[in-house]
Every structure is written in structure tokens, then in C-alpha cells.
Symmetry: C2
Subunit: 492 residues, 2 copies
């Protein structure tokens, strides 16, 4: 205390920190009050809770006002799933953001090579020697020099590819989606598109997506599948290597969790001071669906494309999927601490990508066969993509409502059950802090300990997981689906 | 009576016909009963009426069961609008039909020239002389021969083009849509696509759609707008003629109603026996939206495409639209007897086609400018279609619910108003025969006279129309929106 602890009155340390905590606590409370009163922090969006699940389901699925721009309702994500930063974005701004990100993603996908090539020209040996002259004697050692010369050119690209999912995630966040789950879904779609153009087609046509774009624009619609189709059988060995190097190794790395291991020990060494800190450092986090799912689908695409052309590739894909099944099953049950449950919301996206992969494989097969002198097969094969698209439309029309809407029969059944079982259930107290911005949650510490109580949670799948930090109790009793509808009040 | 009226007992004519009517009436009643009892005539679809508009709106907009394939609800079309033949088609069959019609329409659009060319080769002079040798001396007269030779080749095509909207309507009916209004909308879309490829692009690229298809498949995506764009300015005079011949004349013919005039006099001469028959013969029918609307949109497309390239075309288009406005306004108010009201359901389709026309005009302008040595303008112009597509998405997302859903606020207001005003309103009696298959309607004749009562209907726009045969009274009091939800019970 005092100036550098050198002069000033002696104060008991415990007393001092107590008063400090009090001061900070007061400031926090004042800040809370200020935020509560400030008209600027009133958002054009709100969570509305209903007395019954039925009411919530009706409000979420119907339109409220005759002017469709005034009030919009949608089913709220579960409390843990809310992405609070994006809640207050007005509708018009949302669509503008979507446009901007759409254009930006197009450029990222097709023109990302340009800035990387630029960085690569800078990051050669001479450039480093000029910028950091004291490294010169070190670099000029022959063995190190050859190593750097072999390694450096690809470095910028490697770093970019590692950072890519994070960049895409930022783009999705800028788009203004309001839940973690929808953010992950959107990012996964973007990542799959990138992988499709830059890894799959990029390896076959051997050129960056930018060069491909040129090809697509200047070749006829007839020639594109032909050009790609012809190149496919030649690239089979490359993709076998790719499956082994990227796929098998990727799965092995996933189960090793090398990064998490290193991070934990670093944190443990430098940051951990209390038991709670250690617990936090141990937290494995959520599974990165937007990173792992598109890669798995890329292998699915490879399998479909090569199933007819070079079946030799299939065993490798099969081994990959068997490995991935075992590993990811283990990781999900025993390691990861899923941040939210979205109720199979991911599946329609996966389905769409499988259909896309099917159509791509059919078109490429068409192109390949037409160059092998089997033009007669074309009309028969053309039926395939038409039927596939039709099947997709049928599924979308028929089964998608099950993923998007909450059926009234189901909610009514739950409502009735609950009313019969728990007559004295205090709904208001239960709902009071269900959808509270994390900042306003005062009882976070208590919750943490409650959540760790093994009796409080019902674990259906036996798991060896220890940390349950992010999972609050409330969401485990299946009652959170009544906290439901998000309403956006729009200013015209 | 008896055998050729020659022998048998004498019966009074009035008595005889009375007994005949009785007999037929009994048979009809028995047939009714049989149909009512027959389990085969139970349909997997039903109209459900609700006690309040609110209940109907909720049921129509929400999902009922957890299995999305069991129960489907949608807002019912108004009673006059129901297309009864298609009500009982199960879901799977519907999607199969849609696929079949999609493929069939593709072939109709691109390959319709083949059968017509085949018919034309048959229908030359020699063919006729061979088939009908007694016509030979008549045909061989020089003046008649030259007339036929000039006229015959185009005849098959002309007949096909006149029949086309009807053919497309049959296709839409086969698709299984359940209301007249949706049938007209679907047919209008098909007709517009046909006009776009075969009239607009067909005139510019000068080739049938089949030849165009070949071009599109074998040219690069870059070249197609360029090829078409270059041809556009050259075709301006042709389209000016087209607007005058087809557009202006078409509008003039519309106001003349020559066909209806001839048909009425033919009917009047041969068929009309009672006053009711004459009334029926006078009935002008519904306006053919699926026939007239796509043609108007074609002129809109022409206007957009030529606005920048050859503004000389614009006055002609303007005159056409002025004429069309005056004529169609008059026809709708004073002549046609609209069969149904769908509540501006047509507008989203029109909007979509306007957007399509905009994008087409922008792409063609791009192609044209890039050949005139203005490649630098391309990036700036590319922004236009992107922004247009974005605008369309924005509108669809934001305003389409207003056309598809019935807002709860509105229905609640109407419910409350009605409950306050008409306390003793007998809902059950009112609803009893609201959605009755026309066959089961016993009181059709009475209704006809009631409907003609000028006091019973509230006409907002003053009209000179006399016949009001198809418009039953019930739909004029604004209460029909409560007869609402159609439910399909699907067998899995």
C-alpha cells in the first residue's frame, strides 16, 4: 500500500483487500444501475417467457402484427447458446451485413492467394536479413539456411489455413447471428465451400481457386465437368496420400489433444493459483464443430467421387471414418464439455452437403464418361442429378419443419404432465434469471459449485469427464424449453 | 312415349316429366348416400372450421405433431377458390408429380419445335392433296394456292402458341395444387419462362430454344451475355414492331372481346332456351391472369433491357402500358366476374419476375459494354446484379410473411369486433355448407337468385357488370376468412 509500499500508513492486508473488494463491488453496482437506467442500452430485442410451453410455441410460429416489419418472433436459443453481442442488431443492418460478408467470402475464397503470395515475396531470406540484420550470421549457417528456404515459402499459407476457421467464425459473428449454434453452422458451411474449391477442386485442376474462376468463366458449361472429370483418376494416388496424411493424422492428433495438453501445463505453471483456476485450466471446452465437421464431409465427398472411378481409395476412407467414429465418440462422451444443445439443428446442413457431394460426384462421372467415348450414357446419367435434387427438395419440404418448429402436440403433452406433477412449481422465480446477460449474473460462483455436485445432474451416458463448469444445473432438468421466444421490436 | 311414340299407352307429358325428375332425383340421392358411405371416397384431406379466427390462424401457422409427416395444416383457400379435383392427392404423389411436370416443362420449353416441325412437313400442299384428293381442283386455283402456301407453314406453330397457356394450365393441374389461384400463379410462371426463352431470347439469338440450349452448353459463362448483348441493339426495330403488332393489338382485342361476342351469339342462337341459359351465356368469366400477366411482364422486360441501349423503344412500351392500364382497369371493374379473391397472393410472383427482368437487363448491358471496349466498366456494373439479388432476398425475408401468414393481431381484432357486434350469430349454421363440394350443394339455384339481389351485395367500386352468377353472397360479407384451415392427414 502507499507508493511502492515504501511510505504511508500500515494497513492490515486482509482489511485492505476487503475494503478494495467493497469499493469495486459498489462501483459495479453503480455501473449496473447506470446501465439499467440508460435509455441507450435498451435493445430492440427481448426474451419473452410464457406461462406454458404451448403459448411459447404458438407465439414463436405465428406472425403477430399486420405489418411484418414491426414485430418479429422466433424461437429463442437456450440460455447458454445465446450470443449476446449480436442481439441488438436491427433488421436492416443484419441484411446489409449479410451482403458484405457474402461478397467478402467470395473474395476470400477466390482471391486469398494474392495477399499470401505478397507476404511470401516479403518473407524470403533476404527480406529477413534486411529487417533483422543481427540474425544474419545465424541464418547463413548452411543447414539452417536450407531448412528455412524449404520451409518458409509455405509458412504464410500454413498459418493462413490454420487461422482460416477462426477468420470464418469472425465473419459469421459479424453477420449478426444470435446463437452460438447458428454461428457454428454458418461457419461450417463457409469452411466446406472453401475446402471444396481450394482443396478438392484445387488439387484436381491444380491451380488456385482464382485460376479456376478464370477457367469456369471462359469454358462452356459442358466442358467444366469434362475437364475435371478427366483429371480425377489421375489424382487418385494424391488423394490416398492426402487421406493418410491429413485425415488419419488429424484424427490421431484429435485424440492426443496435444495443444490442450501443452496449454494446460503452461497455464498450470504460470497462471494457476487456486483450485478454481486449475479447474478452469482443465476445462476442455466445446467441440469445434465448425472446424471438424466440414473436413469429415470433405472425405465423404472424396469417397463418393472415387467410389466408381478408383475404388482403391475407399478402404482408406473407410479406415478414416472408422477411426473418426471411435475417436470423436470418445471425445464427445468423455472429453468435451458441450457449451450448448441445439437439438440436431446441425443435421439439415449436413444433409445439404451430402446431397451436394452426391451431385458433384454424379456430374464429374458424367464428364469422365463422356470423354471415354460413352456419350450414349449421358442421358441415362443425367437422370441421376435431377432425381437427387428432387429428393433433396422432397426431404426439405417434408422433414425440415421437424428441425425448425416445435410441434404443438408435444408441448401440450409436456405442459399437461408438468401441471399434474408439480402443482406448486414457482415459475416466476425459476424464470427470473433464466435469460440474464452473463454480466448481471451475481451468483455465478455458487452455481459453479452446485453444478459440480454429482447428484444434481443426471448423466445418461456414463462419462469420465470431470469439469462441468459451463453447464449450469437448470438446463439439465429439461425445463429450459419453456424459456423461449425472442421478440425483436423493430423501429421502422 | 313408348317405342318411337308410335305405340304404348298415352301419358300426360307434364306427369311424365315429373315422374322422370322424381326418378332422377331419387337416383341422385342414392348416389349421394353411396358416396357418403363408401370408405374409398374418404379423402386424406379435410377442411376444419374454427370458432374464432384466432384459433384458425394459430392452427394454420403452427406444426401439430412431432412427426412432420402425419399431419399438415395450411391456410385454406376461400370456398370458391378450391380446386376440388386435387384435394385428395397424397404428399408423396404430389412431389413425384412436381418432378414429372418439371422435366416435362423443360422439354416443352426447349424441344417443342421438333413435333411442330414434324407436323409442318406433313401439312404441306402435296400432303393435303394426297389425303383429301377431292380438294385438289379447289387448291390448284393460283390465288388460293399462293395464300395457302404462305399461310400453312406457320399454322401449326400459331395453333400451338394459342393453345400453350391451356397446355401449361393442364400441367399445373396435374401438379396437384389445391386452389384456382395457385394454379394460375404456377401457370403464369411457366408461361413467362416460355416467353422469355422463346420470344425474347429466341428473337435476339434468332434460333429456337433448342439451338439456344446448344449455345448455352457449349459457350462459356462469360460469352453468353456478350453474344446476346451484341445482338440487342440490332433487334430494336424488330421489337418496336412486335410491341405494336402483338402488344397494342392484343390490348385492343382484349377490349373488343371479339371471341366472347361471337361465342355469345352462337350460344344464343343454338343453345339458349330459358332466361337462365341466356344469363349463363352472357357470363364473361374470370380474367385469365395466367395468360395476360406474363405477356405484360415480357413488355416490362423489353422496356428494362432497351431503356439504356435504345431508348427509342420506350415510348412504344409506354403507350402499351397506358393502353393496358385503361383497358384492363375497365375490364376488371366492368366486365370480368372474378371467380375468387386471393388477397394479393399474385404479387410476390410478379415481384420475382420484375427482379429477374432487372438482372437480365443488367447482365446483357454488361455483355454489350464489354464488347464496346468498356471492359473497365465491368466491375462497377457487376455490383448491380449483386445488389439486386440482395434486395430481392431482403424483400422476400422481410415482406413475404405478410402475403403468406395471417397476423394474430388482425384476427384478434376481428374476433373481438364480431363478438361485440353480433352476439347471436349462428356460427354452426353459417359454417355448415361453407366448404361443400359443388356436387353436394343442393341450393345452387336459390343462391343464384339471392346473389342477383342488388341489396345483398356491397359493391365498393361502381360497376356496370350485370351477371354475378359465380359470386355467392357469403363471401361478400368478409366473414369467409374464418373458414380456414385445411388439414391433410397423411398415411405414412
Amino acid at each position: 500500500t502507499g507508493f511502492f509500499g515504501c511510505f504511508g500508513s500500515d494497513v492490515d492486508a486482509i482489511d485492505y483487500y476487503k475494503s478494495e473488494i467493497e469499493k469495486i463491488g459498489k462501483e459495479e453496482a453503480e455501473e449496473h444501475k447506470k446501465v439499467m437506467k440508460d435509455p441507450k442500452s435498451i435493445m430492440p430485442a427481448a426474451f419473452v417467457s410464457f406461462r406454458s410451453r404451448w403459448g411459447a410455441a404458438v407465439a414463436a410460429q405465428t406472425q403477430q402484427t399486420s405489418n411484418p416489419t414491426v414485430w418479429l418472433t422466433e424461437w429463442a436459443p437456450e440460455p447458454r447458446d445465446v450470443y449476446w453481442n449480436n442481439l441488438s442488431i436491427p433488421f436492416v443492418s443484419l441484411t446489409v451485413r449479410r451482403l458484405i460478408i457474402g461478397v467478402a467470402f467470395f473474395f476470400l475464397n477466390f482471391f486469398y492467394v494474392i495477399p499470401i503470395a505478397f507476404v511470401q515475396t516479403l518473407a524470403n531470406l533476404e527480406g529477413i536479413e534486411k529487417a533483422l540484420p543481427f540474425l544474419e550470421p545465424f541464418i547463413e549457417t548452411p543447414s539452417i539456411k536450407s531448412f528455412i528456404q524449404g520451409f518458409l515459402p509455405g509458412l504464410a499459407l500454413k498459418i493462413f489455413l490454420i487461422l482460416l476457421p477462426t477468420i470464418l467464425m469472425f465473419m459469421s459473428q459479424f453477420e449478426g447471428l444470435v446463437s452460438q449454434s447458428s454461428l457454428e453452422r454458418r461457419t461450417a458451411s463457409k469452411y466446406f465451400i472453401f475446402l471444396f474449391f481450394n482443396v478438392f477442386l484445387g488439387s484436381i485442376v491444380t491451380g488456385s481457386a482464382l485460376e479456376q474462376l478464370n477457367t469456369y468463366l471462359h469454358q462452356s458449361a459442358n466442358d467444366i465437368p469434362r475437364v475435371i472429370g478427366v483429371a480425377i483418376p489421375m489424382k487418385a494416388t494424391f488423394f490416398i496420400t492426402y487421406v493418410m496424411v491429413d485425415g488419419w493424422t488429424g484424427v490421431a492428433l484429435e485424440v492426443l489433444r496435444l495443444r490442450a495438453f501443452i496449454m494446460f501445463h503452461l497455464k498450470n505453471f504460470f497462471l494457476v493459483k487456486t483450485e478454481k483456476d486449475r479447474e478452469e485450466a482443465m476445462d476442455p471446452g466445446s467441440i469445434c464443430l465448425y472446424w471438424s465437421e466440414p473436413r469429415i464431409q470433405l472425405y465423404f465427398l472424396l469417397g463418393l467421387v472415387y467410389a466408381v472411378v478408383t475404388p482403391l481409395l475407399l478402404p482408406f476412407i473407410l479406415v478414416f471414418f472408422a477411426l473418426a467414429y471411435v475417436v470423436y465418440r470418445h471425445q464427445i462422451i468423455n472429453v468435451y464439455n458441450q457449451r450448448y444443445e441445439s437439438g440436431a439443428q446441425f443435421w439439415p446442413n449436413v444433409h445439404l452437403r451430402i446431397i451436394t457431394a452426391l451431385i458433384v460426384s454424379q456430374l464429374l462421372l458424367l464428364g469422365l464418361l463422356s470423354t471415354k467415348g460413352l456419350e450414349e450414357a449421358t442421358p441415362a446419367l443425367l437422370v441421376l442429378p435431377v432425381l437427387t435434387i428432387w429428393f433433396h427438395k422432397y426431404c426439405k419440404h417434408r422433414y425440415e419443419p421437424a428441425f425448425v418448429r416445435n410441434p404443438l402436440q408435444e408441448v401440450m403433452r409436456k405442459d399437461t404432465l408438468e401441471r399434474a406433477r408439480e402443482r406448486n412449481f414457482d415459475l416466476k422465480a425459476y424464470l427470473a434469471d433464466a435469460y440474464l446477460h452473463p454480466v448481471f449474473k451475481s451468483n455465478e460462483v455458487d452455481k459453479f459449485y452446485v453444478a459440480d455436485d454429482p447428484g444434481a445432474v443426471e448423466v445418461i451416458v456414463p462419462t469420465k469427464r470431470r469439469s462441468r463448469r459451463i453447464t449450469p444445473v437448470q438446463s439439465e432438468d429439461g425445463g429450459s424449453d419453456r424459456l423461449s421466444v425472442m421478440e425483436s421490436v423493430q423501429e421502422r
